[in-house]
Symmetry: C2
Subunit: 210 residues, 2 copies
DNA sequence: ACAATATGTGTACGACTGTACACAAGGTAT
DNA sequence: ATACCTTGTGTACAGTCGTACACATATTGT
């Protein structure tokens, strides 16, 4: 038998996930990936796939979990760097964009998964977004920037914010990662979206009561 | 040879597109569909596919064109039914939802295509959305509801509106089509999103100038 | 009426697919 | 040291895939 080097536990598993992600990053859609294709990309024999995943959907679910880690890291960084309220949105969007650039394939996967084939993956990603929105709401409460909003309206606002940013993902992934100009465009546009939303939130009570 | 009935021109072509759409409506992802699968669903021999499309991407592009027709029909209906400004948003959202329910598969295809495998399909759908946003801007101008906004800000607002509604599509397609309660939830939430955005737009100048 | 064209059918083939199975080799526990 | 368990490999097979080709029929143009 060809040399079989067993390394750290989980290494092959990681290679498989990385391989799937890499194919997605190259423009393939996750739903169209096959087991053989992924194992080939990972440099592993096809049957070995089953040692780690039951099928491609299973692999997708585990990717969602890892995506969650990426998002949490992003959130932590945003919390650490966004101190003054006046630059809150521009800074946050910048951090978001830098994370997308640093983990392009992951966010490709996320964008695809939102309307993907697997119900479970879809729900997983949506759940990550809900979590993100609720954390955002907590932060805003803590910073006392939205005292005039009740919880329900704040949740709605944060939901809309997260959705808008998520949609910008589609724009961002559509432009080449070294097209600085286009990226800047996406950034300013997204920032303006958020500003518009928060202007709305600031004046919401007056109309929201009806 | 088995009976070959040639009917109206374009009939088989339509059957193929309908078959692909039907598979998508059943939960499959367009990117994972194969030629054989689609022809099988259409009740047609595989090789006949090539009489009408060069490949699956080609079929996808033609579906985008048809999707454009659906959207235009929706726009026309909205223009005809939304007369008083105070119910503008709730009415529009209701019309949107009813069209989604009536053309579920089409909108599945649209949601998938936004992060799909084919660059061309992706661009096509995005282009439809841009068109929709610009038509919306025209209508709002004509109704003189946004006189305080300059063109650029109006475009941005409409862009955000269209994106928010498009994202709600994901919610809507995620719930069963006969779950009236959930659909109502999506409807009210989407409407509130739009209201929030327009409240923001109404007060935009004060902050947008900086 | 006849030729040309467009469209659907049947057959064929090599490539690729998912997955079952037996086996080998490294890690771990006794 | 021995037995086990986990993980990677190799082989195998039946099913599916895209697509090339020759052929049949219906429609269209003359």
């Amino acid at each position: 038998m060809a040399d079989k080097q067993r390394r750290k536990p989980g290494e092959t598993r990681d290679k498989l996930m990385a391989a799937a992600l890499s194919l997605v990053g190259k423009g393939r859609h996750f739903a169209s990936l096959g087991i053989r294709e992924v194992t080939r990309e990972a440099g592993i024999v096809p049957t070995s796939f089953y040692r780690h995943f039951r099928n491609m959907d299973d692999l997708g679910l585990q990717l969602v979990d890892e995506l969650g880690l990426v998002l949490r890291k992003m959130m932590r960084e945003a919390r650490a760097n966004v101190l003054q309220a006046d630059k809150l949105m521009a800074e946050s969007v910048a951090i978001f964009i830098s994370h997308v650039e640093a983990n392009r394939s992951f966010f490709f996967f996320m964008a695809q998964g939102l309307a993907g084939e697997s119900q479970a993956v879809q729900e997983g990603i949506r759940s990550e977004m809900r979590f993100f929105a609720s954390e955002l709401a907590n932060d805003l409460r803590r910073m006392r920037l939205v005292d005039h909003l009740n919880d329900r309206d704040l949740d709605m606002t944060c939901d809309l914010v997260v959705r808008s940013v998520a949609f910008s993902l589609t724009d961002l992934l559509g432009v080449s990662s070294d097209d600085e100009y286009q990226i800047e465009q996406v950034k300013t546009r997204t920032t303006r979206f958020l500003q518009l939303i928060f202007v709305g939130a600031a004046h919401w009570k007056s109309v929201g009561a009806l």
